[in-house]
C-alpha cells in the first residue's frame, strides 16, 4: 500500500507505524528459526548471543560431531578411518533415526501420493457422487487432533495382527512386528504417516486440477489415445507440479511427525522427531540445535522447490499475475 499524495501528516505517521508493526511481526515469525543456527555453532553449552558471534573463528562443529558419535562405540578422539565411519553408519543413534525417518517418510509419501492423486482425479470429475462428504472425510486427518488419531491407532494397531504361519503372515509378516502386529512395526508407522499426508496431497492435486481443461482429455481421446496414454501423456505432465508439491507436503508431514510415533512405534522405529522430542523433554542440549539447523536447511530447500513448482504450474495452466 503506497501512501497517497493527499495523506495528512497523521496518516503518514500511522503508515510508518504500520510498517514498523509489520516488520516486528515478520521478525517474530522468522527470528526464532534463525536464532538456532548461530547457537548450534557455539562451542559452549550456554545460550548466549554475545559478541563472539561476530567472530567466525570461535565457531565450532562440536555439536555436529556429537550427532555422529552419540551411541558410537569408539572414543571421541579415535582416528576417523573407514571403520570409524562405518561404525557411525551402523551404530550412531542420530544416523539410525535419520535412516528410519527417511525410510518411513519415503514409503508414506509414495503411498499417500499414489492413492491421493488417483482419488483427486476422481474427486475433480463433476459427476463424482457424494463429493462434499468424501472430501470432508479425506481432509479430516488434518483436522482431527493428532492425539485422538494416535490414541485410536494405538488401540487398534495393537489388535491388528496376523495369525502366525497364516498366508497373511507369509505376505505381510516381514513388515510387521515380531508378534505380527501393526503396532511397533515399520508398516504401522508408514500407514499412519500416509493417512496424515493424504489431506495435503488431495488439497494440492485438486487445486491443480481445478484449472485443468477437461477438453484436453476429449481432444486426446478423439485423436485415438487410449486411457493410459491420456493419463501419462496429457494429464500427468500438467498436474505433475501439484503432485510433487503434494508429495513434498506429505513427506514433510511424516518427517516432522512425532505423536503417532510415540504412541504406535517400538524401539526399532526411532525417528528424528522422536529423538528430538525426548531430547527436548530431558535437558535441551546444543546437539538438538545442530539437528534443528540441519532441518531448517532442509525446509528452506523444500520451500524453494515448492515455490518453483508452483510458479511452473501457474505458468502451465495459464494463471498469470503471480
Amino acid at each position: 500500500m503506497a501512501l497517497p499524495t493527499y495523506a495528512s501528516p497523521l496518516e503518514r505517521l500511522w503508515y510508518y507505524t504500520y510498517l514498523t508493526i509489520c516488520v516486528l511481526i515478520f521478525l517474530f515469525l522468522i527470528a526464532p528459526i534463525l536464532v538456532v543456527i548461530p547457537l548450534s555453532f557455539n562451542p559452549d553449552a550456554d545460550f548466549t548471543l554475545g559478541a563472539e558471534f561476530l567472530d567466525p573463528a570461535t565457531y565450532s562443529l562440536r555439536w555436529y560431531d556429537t550427532l555422529l558419535t552419540l551411541g558410537h562405540p569408539a572414543t571421541a578422539d579415535a582416528p576417523r578411518d573407514d571403520a570409524w565411519w562405518s561404525a557411525v553408519w551402523e551404530r550412531s543413534t542420530w544416523v539410525q533415526a535419520a535412516k528410519n525417518s527417511l525410510w518411513v517418510g519415503l514409503w508414506a509419501t509414495i503411498l499417500a501420493t499414489t492413492l491421493g492423486t488417483i482419488a483427486a482425479l476422481g474427486l475433480s470429475r463433476p459427476e463424482m457422487p457424494y463429493r462434499r462428504l468424501i472430501m470432508a472425510l479425506l481432509i479430516s486427518p488434518m483436522i482431527v487432533p493428532i492425539i485422538i488419531i494416535a490414541v485410536g491407532m494405538s488401540f487398534f494397531y495393537a489388535k491388528a495382527c496376523v495369525a502366525p504361519d497364516s498366508a497373511m503372515a507369509l505376505i505381510f509378516g516381514w513388515m510387521l512386528s515380531e508378534k505380527g502386529c501393526l503396532a511397533n512395526s515399520h508398516l504401522g508407522v508408514i500407514v499412519a504417516h500416509a493417512v496424515l499426508g493424504i489431506p495435503f496431497v488431495i488439497i494440492t492435486v485438486t487445486a491443480t486440477l481445478s484449472g485443468f481443461d477437461q477438453s484436453l482429455i476429449r481432444a486426446a481421446q478423439s485423436m485415438g489415445a487410449n486411457p493410459r496414454t491420456v493419463f501419462f501423456k496429457v494429464i500427468m505432465p500438467l498436474i505433475l507440479p501439484g503432485v510433487i508439491s503434494g508429495a513434498l507436503f506429505a513427506f514433510v508431514t511424516s518427517f516432522d511427525e512425532v505423536v503417532a510415533v510415540l504412541f504406535i512405534a517400538g524401539p526399532d522405529q526411532q525417528t528424528i522427531p522422536r529423538q528430538m522430542f525426548n531430547g527436548i523433554r530431558e535437558a535441551i542440549s546444543p546437539a538438538i540445535l545442530a539437528v534443528a539447523t540441519i532441518l531448517v536447511v532442509i525446509s528452506v530447500l523444500l520451500l524453494a522447490t515448492v515455490e518453483v513448482l508452483r510458479r511452473r504450474s501457474d505458468r502451465l495452466r495459464g494463471v498469470t499475475g503471480r
Binding site: M1, Y18, L19, I21, C22, I25, L29, I30, P32, I33, V35, L39, D46, F47, T48, L49, G50, L115, I118, A119, G122, E127, M128, I134, M135, L138, S140, P141, I143, V144, P145, I146, I147, I148, I149, V151, G152, M153, F155, F156, Y157, V191, V195, I198, T204, V259, P273, M276, I280, R281, I288, A292, V296, S299, L302, L303, V306, E307, R310, R322
Partner: protein
C-alpha cells in the same frame, strides 16, 4: 402413436433419457472407482481405529469378566438396595474376591471400580487376600476386613460395572462421581476435566485473537505490495510453515527459558537483575507464545488470499466521498475481509484446541491442555477414560469442522 413419436431415441433406438441416465451412471461409477482405493485405505487405517477408540470409551470388562458370581447376582436382583445389600450379595462378592486372588485379576477389577469409586483398588486387594479364609456370615466378616465394603457407592459402582458396556467414563470425564446417593457433581476442586476443557477453549480463543491481530497487518501488507515484493516477503511466512514443529518449539525454549537468549540479553544490557530473570517458559506464557508462532501462518494465508482480491478502488471511492481513513477501514475494507477472518480464525481455533506437542514440551505444569490429559491417562493405562475424553474432544472438533465447512468450505483450504 403421437406419444411414441415424441420419445426421442438414440441412433440404436434406445430412449434418449435412459441412455443418458446409463451413461451418467457409468461416469459416476468410474469417478467413484478412482476414489475407492483411498477410501478403503482411510477407512481401515483411520476410521476403524477411531471407531474402535469410541467403542473402548463405553466398554470395560475388567470387573464384569472377573466377578461372575456377582454379575449373576446383579442380573437376578436388578432392584436391590445398595444401602443394605443382603447376605447372598456379600457371599457372591467374597466368592469373586477369592477367585480374583487365584486368577490374579484383582488389579484389573479394582481399577475398573476405582474409576467411579476412588480408593477401591486397595480395598479390593485387601479383601482378596483375606477372602479365602472368611467364614459365613460373609457380610459381617467382610465388613470386619474393611468397613468400606458396605458403602452404597461401592455397591452402585459394582452393579454398574457388572455390565461391560457403560457410559460411566463419560460421567467421570465430565467430573461426576459416584456418591452413596448416586452420581453427582464433584466438589469445586474436583472439577478437573471440565475445567481443563474450558481452559483449553479459552487459551485457544486467546491464541486465535492474538493470531488475528498479528496476521491482519501482515496479510494486508502482503496483499497491497507489488507482486514481486510480496512474493519475497511471503517466503518469511512460508518458511516457518515448512519448518519442523519441533525445531520451532526448540527455538522458543532457547529464546525464552531462564538461561535463554532473551533473558541473557536483558541481563547483559542491565535491564534485568540476574535474580529477576523472567520466567516465560514452562508455563502458560510459553505455551501461548510458541503456539501463536506455530499457528500464525494458518491465519495469514487465508486472510491474504481474501485481501488480495479486494479491489483498492472501493477504499478510494469511500475516501473521495468524504469518509475518514478509519471509517473507510471500518465500513468498507473490514467487511470485505470477513470471509478470510472466519476461515483463518476457525482453522487456527480448531488446530489450537487439539494441540499436543507444544504444550507438552513448553507448557510446564500450568500450560497443559486437554490433549496432554489424554496422553497422561494413556500413559497410566486408563485407556477407557482416555478414550472417553478423546471422544468428547472429537465431538467438539467435528462440530467446529462442520461449521468450517458450512461457512468456508473445505475445498477452499490451500497452502501457499
Amino acid at each position: 402413436m403421437a406419444d411414441a413419436a415424441q420419445i426421442l431415441t438414440t441412433a440404436d433406438g434406445r430412449p434418449l433419457k435412459a441412455a443418458l441416465a446409463a451413461a451418467q451412471g457409468r461416469a459416476k461409477r468410474r469417478a467413484f472407482l478412482l476414489v475407492l482405493p483411498l477410501l478403503l485405505f482411510v477407512l481401515l487405517t483411520f476410521l476403524v481405529p477411531i471407531a474402535y477408540m469410541l467403542m473402548r470409551s463405553v466398554e470395560h470388562d475388567g470387573f464384569a469378566a472377573s466377578a461372575p458370581a456377582l454379575v449373576e447376582w446383579f442380573d437376578e436382583n436388578p432392584d436391590f438396595d445398595p444401602a443394605n445389600p443382603p447376605e447372598e450379595a456379600f457371599a457372591a462378592l467374597v466368592q469373586d474376591l477369592a477367585r480374583m486372588q487365584e486368577e490374579r485379576t484383582t488389579g484389573i477389577a479394582g481399577t475398573r471400580i476405582n474409576y467411579s469409586v476412588p480408593g477401591s483398588i486397595s480395598m479390593f486387594k485387601k479383601g482378596a487376600r483375606e477372602a479365602a479364609g472368611l467364614e459365613p456370615p460373609y457380610k459381617e466378616a467382610l465388613l470386619a476386613v474393611d468397613a468400606n465394603f458396605g458403602r452404597p457407592a461401592l455397591w452402585r459402582g459394582m452393579a454398574s460395572a457388572s455390565n461391560a458396556y457403560t457410559a460411566e467414563f463419560y460421567l467421570v470425564a465430565s467430573d461426576r462421581k459416584l456418591t452413596d446417593a448416586g452420581w453427582a457433581r464433584g466438589g469445586d476442586k474436583e472439577r478437573i476435566y471440565l475445567y481443563l476443557f474450558g481452559k483449553t477453549f479459552m487459551i485457544s480463543a486467546l491464541i486465535t485473537v492474538i493470531c488475528l491481530l498479528l496476521a491482519f497487518p501482515v496479510a494486508h501488507l502482503l496483499a497491497t505490495l507489488p507482486m514481486s515484493k510480496a512474493a519475497l516477503l511471503m517466503i518469511l511466512v512460508l518458511l516457518p510453515f515448512w519448518t519442523s514443529l519441533l525445531v520451532r518449539t526448540t527455538a522458543w525454549i532457547v529464546l525464552l527459558q531462564e538461561q535463554g537468549v532473551v533473558n541473557n540479553l536483558l541481563v547483559g544490557l542491565g535491564l534485568l537483575d540476574d535474580k529477576g530473570r523472567l520466567s516465560m517458559m514452562y508455563n502458560m506464557t510459553g505455551t501461548v507464545v510458541a503456539m501463536t508462532h506455530v499457528l500464525l501462518p494458518f491465519m495469514i494465508l487465508p486472510l491474504y488470499s481474501v485481501m488480495r482480491v479486494i479491489p483498492p478502488s472501493y477504499a478510494r471511492a469511500a475516501r473521495s466521498l468524504g469518509a475518514t481513513s478509519w471509517t473507510t477501514f471500518r465500513r468498507v475494507y473490514l467487511p470485505q475481509t470477513l470471509p478470510g477472518i472466519a476461515a483463518g480464525s476457525l482453522l487456527v481455533f480448531i488446530l489450537a484446541v487439539g494441540y499436543y506437542i507444544t504444550p507438552a514440551l513448553v507448557g510446564g505444569a500450568d500450560g497443559q491442555l486437554i490433549s496432554n490429559l489424554i496422553q497422561f491417562h494413556m500413559s497410566k493405562s486408563n485407556w477407557s477414560l482416555a478414550a472417553a475424553i478423546a471422544a468428547m474432544l472429537l465431538a467438539a472438533i467435528l462440530i467446529l469442522y462442520w461449521i468450517y465447512d458450512r461457512l468456508v468450505g473445505i475445498d477452499r483450504l490451500k497452502f501457499g
